[in-house]
Symmetry: C2
């Protein structure tokens, strides 16, 4: 399976969600605008190649001189493109670093919504798993393909960027196409039922892409999006000791089919007014209610989250949870208010702790001969 | 795909290596022998079920009372057995803890070779990624299946065991069947070419299983094996800057086909005497030479390693490498001397740092109605 790297929008957003993720955030270690542009140019060429199943460089892992390092690291020899998509984003600190310095002459083009996300209740952020000047999302059906992509981009960036943090995800939790069935998160529930599907073209336009003219200061971002990344640790050991009924009440859906507690099937619209024995059948603090567009000014997100397990925690359990990724047209309308509501009222929050957080502006698609983000530097 | 859980030997050793790994080491938090036996009995029942694609418990994730916690966590609903194998091992501290205490009345049955591995050069061990009273290796073709297995065993063990460390592996690096092609490690080289294959029945008997009578104190281990686990960090960023020729010299094989530098194809026996321009074609410090049975009293290992990437390291690179697993009849003859030779002389060692280490005795297969390790407690 191959997906086109170039187009009106970057791949890896509305692309049917692949099974595996390697996500990396980078710090730019140079102050040179030219070096930054050279990096983006080199990354574009390598990403274009790797998404076609080719080595990262023109010489390849084994075809060059034995006296030189190969321009591909070789662990993907013999593997095909694996449905690889590589999606690039720019963090707020690319425009103005933590000291307010405009290293690359970009400050006057910073998108208005591209700021460090505010502190939310339940945020216990690890700065070593948060933020970043640049991000790269590699999704593929083979984890070795996704890892190979990030690893080679890091190799190419040696001396210009350093990996700030990186996250592997082993199981997608969202569908971005109506052709996909809904997978389960580590709470054991179907996740992403109400996600925007690429087939919902009007909603994709409205809720995912940045419209031309939406941001006078950053019209370069038109056709792009915002990427919200949140590393959400789940207290799975505590969750597992809750009764089935409580788990379903927290979510507002059945664990079995994913149908709303008001009845029907997975894709039946929840009836938030249906009365139960005490209050509505779908509780006031149920997750499905609080994040529903009806209670959030109609806002929808396109989510591409992945489950993760990163070893163990000091409590003798697994360091596990959901690496949440959402693409939205504007985090000020499509993420921050919803996250605030959720953090304050959602019954599920008792079982969550957010340990990583980042926001990136995702430039539009890359045309023939262009490098990623070219409209920002033009 | 389903593999039988019960048999003469535990599954997950000679089973054709699956693509994904979740490995966990546990500390036993009780001093009660009865509770330990109850845990192993409950683990056996759950593992037997999960390897057949069934939920961990008889009720299942959604079929029980809404007033009780489910006896399966649910994230594997709708997934099949996924070729799952679950393999159990006992660490030295199960027999005698770090204070020398015999908590479970097992000290006089401790296998003679089951000791904390000696310190090797290049070992920079993190105690939080090393050792353990018990281990569970879950291998499957779907990572969600492997994670589900470990997570449910940890859930069942709540109050009796705590996860000490856990490791995900995303790409196998070894073949244990002649029907499998050889995958690549993160140095970009084929790994496991010379591995013992399950079809080599004589070598499996000789090098993998503990023979009856081999250890008078621990005859309960006959038909079992020893599991060596080593978390080997690769300095991939430094490796990637070495020339192709140097990389091949370090390994002693070509990067392309995996053939020995003395010629032929991947499975051609290396000619260690073939002269090159300076010394033998396969250098004195080449990895393939130093670990070859010809230079190690004929010892072979059955390896089941996996690649890993666990986020980033403080140097701005990836925390990546090889989670080495080997099954051997006796670590004193089949691992420790080879590891010492390698650590002292292998050119590849400059690019490795061992951050985790553990040794476990793997009890024999589980007969009908038995629990894992029953011969130890009988």
């Amino acid at each position: 399976m191959e997906y086109a790297f170039r187009g009106a929008h970057q791949a890896g957003i509305t692309t049917p969600a692949q099974d595996r993720l390697h996500f990396a955030a980078f710090d730019v270690t140079t102050d040179s605008r030219d070096e930054l542009i050279a990096l983006l140019t080199a990354w574009t060429a390598a990403a274009d190649r790797m998404t076609r199943g080719l080595p990262a460089g023109e010489i390849g892992p084994t075809q060059g001189s034995i006296n030189l390092p190969p321009d591909d690291t070789g662990e993907a020899i013999g593997l095909d493109a694996g449905g690889l998509t590589i999606t690039f984003g720019f963090g707020p600190t690319l425009f103005r670093d933590d000291d307010g310095k405009d290293r690359f002459g970009l400050a006057d083009r910073q998108p208005k919504a591209l700021r460090t996300l505010p502190h939310f209740p339940a945020d216990v952020l690890d700065p070593d798993k948060s933020y970043g000047d640049l991000c790269v999302q590699a999704c593929a059906d083979d984890p070795q393909v996704a890892v190979h992509a990030i690893r080679n981009l890091a190799r190419i960036g040696f001396g210009t960027v350093a990996v700030r943090w990186s996250q592997l995800g082993f199981g997608r939790t969202s569908t971005t196409s109506t052709a996909q069935s809904t997978p389960r998160n580590l709470f054991g529930f179907k996740d992403g039922t109400a996600n925007i599907k690429s087939q919902e073209k009007k909603d994709v336009e409205k809720h995912v892409w940045v419209a031309p003219g939406a941001d006078a200061q950053a019209d370069w971002l038109a056709g792009g999006s915002y990427l919200v990344a949140r590393r959400i640790n789940m207290h799975i050991e505590i969750w597992d000791r809750q009764s089935l009924g409580d788990q379903e009440d927290f979510i507002g859906r059945t664990k079995d089919t994913g149908a709303p507690l008001s009845g029907g099937t997975e894709f039946t619209e929840p009836d938030f007014d249906m009365p139960g024995s005490t209050g509505p059948v779908i509780a006031e603090d149920a997750h499905v209610r609080l994040v529903h567009p009806d209670f959030n000014n109609g806002a929808r997100m396109l989510r591409r989250g992945y489950n993760f397990v990163d070893g163990s925690n000091p409590l003798g359990g697994l360091d596990a949870g959901l690496f949440f990724i959402a693409y939205v047209t504007d985090p000020d309308t499509h993420f921050i208010p919803i996250q605030n509501t959720m953090a304050k009222h959602d019954a599920m929050m008792e079982y969550l702790k957010v340990t990583g957080s980042a926001l990136f502006a995702v430039p539009p698609g890359i045309g023939p001969g262009e490098y990623v983000g070219q409209s920002l530097f033009a």
